[in-house]
């Protein structure tokens, strides 16, 4: 491919979006989709034979660590990892240093994101300093384009504050309050899921009820305020049930799950390797099954990575002293394919819905999530669903190495990613 071609055609792929599933070529011109159909002529060609051409993936939940922890990740390295993972937009969580509770900090993140190989969408804090007390300047942040408000990493514990945040957000079009649902009084001092493994290993646990109690409360607050609540990284069967019930009752809630919560269980912690430490923690087989069920029946709207880079020293510690979090951007698509599509939990289109157009809708990202039709911004990914590869931490584009999948053989990988008409990943290689 020449540098930044203004026009090219993605040839021979199977196009999957909200319009369906068909074999078609996609002509991209001037940053937008110009034509979709059989035998669209054009040059140069981006080969998509045997591949799926889909709207670019959208990740509602990444930690890019900038500002404050640029030795773990930067907006640029994180965005490159995202592009290699097929993502064309990521929502950057606000637990940076300083946190995204201030218009100037948000503006700086957005500015750094403008040259990144993936659209970087800033979230904003619900409360100042993510401390759970005073409201962050949500209106000012909203004016900069912030739509997802969250204190992620911390949960808004005070029900009165949460209610006020929801009511206030109701005046900001498209704003969504997103909760990290873990009651810190129940999870206090815990480092892994509380259950058979924590009891055996002597690692203090975080009970599943720490999540479910908060989800139940916030469902009631969403109903009270008639304002949507989005639940970040749900991990328990009980929480999935509560969300399912809330949706049945017509309450405006959405939910995401992280690939590690449908791929791994608390049994991984038996090696005491903190690469498996994450909040909320890896749960049980029964929770994994419930999450899959929630994905299959639409209770869960989105798959989001909770990509959480940490420098090697941070994880070269005893389990209880290491920080929580694991990488996710470069493995999410393959895990979705391997754990959900392959065993028949989700059809390919439903899986892409969870990875692309539903999260795009939650975040209010009109230019992402397709459909792939003339006039739409060309934010696309081309994925090879058959290629086998092994996760080698040293070859990840993220600045950090804390993937829990080192050595794991995965099937399915992103071949090309197109951002606003520019091929930012070609044949699995980042172009910038």
């Amino acid at each position: 491919m020449p540098d930044r071609p203004d026009q090219f055609v993605i040839k021979g792929g199977r196009v999957v979006d909200t319009n369906g599933d068909r074999v078609a070529d996609v002509l991209v011109q001037g940053g937008v989709v110009a034509a979709v159909g059989r035998r669209v002529e054009g040059a140069p060609v981006l080969d998509a034979a045997g591949c799926v051409v889909a709207p670019g993936l959208v990740d509602l939940h990444v930690h890019l660590r900038e500002p404050g922890d640029e030795d773990a990740e930067t907006i640029e390295t994180g965005a490159r990892a995202a592009a290699l993972g097929g993502f064309t937009a990521v929502v950057a969580m606000p637990n940076t240093r300083p946190p995204l509770d201030d218009a100037a900090v948000v503006a700086s993140v957005l500015a750094a994101g403008r040259t990144a190989p993936c659209d970087v969408v800033a979230s904003g804090c619900i409360t100042k300093g993510r401390a759970g007390g005073e409201l962050a300047p949500m209106g000012e942040l909203h004016a900069l384009g912030v739509r997802i408000f969250t204190d992620d990493g911390a949960h808004v514990g005070d029900a009165g504050v949460m209610r006020n945040a929801l009511e206030y957000a109701g005046s900001l079009p498209g704003a969504v309050i997103a909760q990290h649902a873990e009651d810190p009084t129940l999870a206090a001092g815990g480092h892994m899921h509380e259950g058979a493994w924590s009891s055996r290993l002597g690692i203090p646990g975080r009970p599943g009820a720490a999540e479910a109690t908060v989800v139940a409360r916030d469902v009631m607050l969403a109903e009270l305020t008639d304002t949507p609540v989005h639940f970040l990284h749900l991990s328990t069967a009980a929480a999935v049930d509560i969300v399912r019930d809330a949706k049945r009752r017509g309450i405006s809630v959405t939910a995401e799950v992280a690939p590690h919560h449908f791929t791994l269980t608390d049994a991984e912690c038996r090696t005491f390797d903190p690469v498996f430490k994450v909040h909320p923690p890896l749960r049980t087989d029964a929770d994994v099954a419930a999450i899959k069920e929630g994905l299959a029946d639409g209770t869960i709207d989105a798959i989001a990575t909770d990509h959480a880079p940490h420098v090697p020293e941070a994880k070269e510690q005893p389990f209880e002293e290491a920080p929580p979090g694991m990488l996710g951007l470069e493995t999410a698509f393959a895990l979705t394919l391997g754990e959900l599509v392959e065993p028949g939990v989700l059809g390919l289109a439903d899986a892409l819905a969870c990875l692309s157009w539903r999260p795009a809708a939650i975040a209010g990202l009109d230019g992402h999530g397709g459909p792939i039709e003339p006039g739409r911004p060309a934010n696309l990914c081309v994925v090879d669903p058959a290629v086998r590869w092994e996760v080698d931490p040293s070859r990840l584009a993220s600045r950090s190495r804390n993937t829990p999948y080192a050595g794991r053989k995965l099937t399915g990988r992103v071949r090309h990613t197109v951002l606003h008409g520019e091929p930012v990943v070609v044949d699995g290689i980042a172009q910038r």
Partner: protein
């Protein structure tokens, strides 16, 4: 065996072998000059991130009686205060040339992490709430010397108290089970493990109901900090429900023995007259600690030549 991290590393045969070896070291410790050159030229470091007197002294005495050189590291008087990480600390110590590291750490699995980082043998001297394997071994040795080597099968052992937070209990349950004993953990629900799935033990919250059946009453230390976290109403209430008072001790079978890993809270989990009474083998536990640790160190570092 390269390391001793957990009772799981041993299995029944390994435990048996170590106990037999320990018996021969008990004999050594009773000599006029209780010292043999079995580990001459070997260097053993005790790396203690938590306060401990008896375990550290016991390991250091064991090493010295085997003629090993010893070094002692405690977190309080080290570069840890200057922010040195565990990884850097152990690599620095290893670079000085050590053959074994005896590790006590406040985090479960810290010795497992260290074992994955260094070539020297690692002995777990207590990791968080997880395990304290040499304590379990010295408990078995003490029982075997008191009751005979064929007494374990079917022996009814009650481990009483703060099982949830206890590394002594986690190693003890596995070790007692491995030698054929029948283990019950006893305590208030807030101090029993959240899950007993995979534990080779039964559980009850009723000490008085379990007590008359027990051959061994193993009491765990109650820590005052459990009150602050709302796990117990008061120490007095704990004593009234779970303490081995003189009245309760009077209801034990005549040959039942009483054990405690120390340090004891006299008047809380155990009455002074019970601790010092004829059923108590608590002092023997401490005495046997040195022999067991000699056996562990010799198994890990010894040449394989006859012991003494």
């Amino acid at each position: 065996m390269n390391d001793l991290l957990s009772i799981d590393d041993l299995g029944p045969a390994g435990i048996d072998e170590l106990l037999a070896l320990s018996e021969s070291f008990v004999e050594v410790t009773r000599r006029d000059i209780p010292k043999i050159p079995a580990l001459r030229g070997k260097t053993i470091v005790t790396l203690f991130y938590e306060d401990s007197t008896r375990t550290r002294l016991s390991f250091e005495t064991a090493a010295k009686r085997l003629t090993a050189d010893t070094m002692s590291f405690t977190a309080a008087s080290s570069a840890v205060g200057k922010g040195e990480s565990l990884l850097d600390t152990v690599r620095t110590i290893e670079a000085m040339g050590v053959d074994a590291m005896v590790v006590r750490h406040q985090c479960a699995g810290a010795p497992h992490r260290i074992a994955s980082w260094i070539d020297a043998a690692v002995v777990n001297a207590g990791d968080g709430r997880h395990e304290h394997p040499t304590q379990a071994l010295l408990d078995l040795l003490t029982l075997r010397r008191r009751l005979g080597s064929d007494a374990f099968r079917g022996l009814r052992v009650g481990i009483v108290g703060d099982v949830r937070h206890s590394r002594v209990a986690r190693s003890g349950v596995k070790a007692f089970d491995a030698v054929g004993a029948d283990v019950t953990v006893i305590g208030p629900p807030t101090l029993l493990p959240e899950s007993l799935d995979g534990w080779p033990a039964r559980a009850t919250t009723d000490l008085d109901d379990a007590l008359p059946e027990l051959d061994v009453v193993y009491l765990l230390r109650i820590q005052r900090e459990r009150l602050g976290s709302a796990l117990l109403p008061s120490l007095r209430e704990y004593t009234s429900r779970y303490g081995l008072t003189a009245e309760r001790a009077a209801r034990l079978k005549p040959d039942t023995v009483v054990m405690h890993p120390g340090p004891m809270n006299r008047g809380v989990e155990i009455a002074a007259e019970v601790a010092d009474g004829p059923a108590s083998i608590i002092t023997e536990q401490v005495a046997n600690g040195v022999a067991v640790r000699m056996a562990v160190l010799w198994s890990l570092l010894g040449s394989g030549a006859p012991v003494a």
